[in-house]
């Protein structure tokens, strides 16, 4: 019996170590998981780059922070909330669809609708506008040019020669 004790203890120890390490191994987030959250955040020190694409030291540190939070069991939304609480709502790539952030989503639509409405109104008004009333001018009276009909007729005849 004695000769089986040592291997048994060894086996049990290995199993216990593996079992103890399993949760840690399971919680270690992949780069894809980290980048999935990172692309929803802005690089804090450069313009128009998300955290996934940026290669500055700041962004490296922020991605590490995402990784740590995910490893601690934070959900994606909880990680985003952590960043908002720490750095402000400006860290988000997209403004939130609530509160003041909602204005960023609604204002372009409101502006577009207002523009289309205004254009429709103007086009409608133009199409319905009555043509200007003609003002009769008596024959023989001087025209706007100050030239009477007879002179105009002579000019037109002369022009035919050219």
């Amino acid at each position: 019996m004695k000769k089986y004790v040592n291997p048994l203890i060894l086996l049990l120890s290995v199993v216990m170590v593996v079992l103890a390490a399993l949760p840690a191994l399971a919680q270690e987030p992949s780069m894809d998981e980290v980048n999935h959250v990172a692309r929803k955040l802005n690089c804090p020190t450069c313009q128009s780059l998300n955290l996934e694409d940026c290669r500055t030291q700041t962004c490296d540190q922020w991605r590490d922070q995402i990784k740590d939070l995910l490893a601690e069991g934070y959900s994606e939304q909880e990680v985003l909330d952590w960043f908002i609480a720490r750095f402000g709502v400006e860290v988000l790539q997209e403004p939130p669809r609530e509160g003041h952030g909602l204005l960023a989503w609604l204002l372009p639509i409101v502006g577009l609708l207002a523009g289309v409405g205004w254009l429709a109104f103007v086009l409608n008004r133009w199409s319905k506008a009555a043509p200007p009333e003609p003002v009769p001018i008596e024959s023989g009276a001087p025209t706007d040019f100050g030239v009477d009909d007879e002179t105009l007729r002579k000019i037109e005849e002369d022009l035919k020669g050219f």
């Binding site: 030291q57 609480a85 003609p134």
Partner: protein
């Protein structure tokens, strides 16, 4: 023979409408231009320091109101800031030299706590430092980057804004001035 011509179209109402439209556009232009006007920290020199409240990494809270009478050196920094390394040891030395006369406060800007703590340990920073939550203080102090250092007298007036790392002679000269304003 009868000919036709059209009456003039321009009416007084249209001219007034056009002028009103131009006026509205001009007002909007100036409002936007004012909004886009750059406000920088350097413009705060000589002005009262904006109020702040910051909690250090150790959990102590510091505010301008509670520190009335104490001259302050407020240094914005970050662990990812290469220029900040250059002045870290100098600031710590100056803090030790003027302990009890001038209070140094580090404001950790856009940084993670883990990296900030590692930076402080690496450079031996012992004066209180804390994260700038939502960058509120950075916005109020209009910083243009890091490092940036504000020298605030005991009565809460900014006497100098240092953009970029500071050199020893200038730092000690300013500290002498600050120390004289302590209550």
């Amino acid at each position: 023979m009868t000919e036709t011509t059209t009456p003039p179209k321009t009416s007084g109402k249209k001219v007034i409408g056009l002028m009103l439209g131009i006026l509205v556009l001009l007002v909007l232009f100036f409002v936007f231009a004012f909004g886009l006007q750059k406000r920088e920290s350097i413009q705060l020199e000589g002005a009262p320091a904006p109020e702040f409240s910051i909690t250090s990494f150790e959990g102590d809270t510091y505010s301008l109101a509670s520190l009335k009478g104490t001259p302050l050196v407020v240094n914005f920094w970050a662990s990812w800031c290469v220029e900040c390394y250059k002045e870290a040891a100098l600031l710590e030395q100056a803090y030790q030299d003027y302990k009890g006369q001038v209070l140094f406060l580090g404001i950790d800007y856009l940084d993670t706590e883990k990296d900030a703590m590692a930076y402080m340990e690496q450079y031996g920073v012992t004066y209180p430092s804390g994260p700038d939550i939502e960058s509120r203080m950075a916005k109020d102090y209009r910083i243009t980057g890091v490092p940036e250092t504000f020298f605030i007298t005991g009565d809460g007036r900014i006497i100098h804004v240092q953009i970029g790392p500071i050199e020893r002679p200038q730092l000690y000269q300013l500290l002498e001035k600050l120390a004289a304003t302590g209550g």
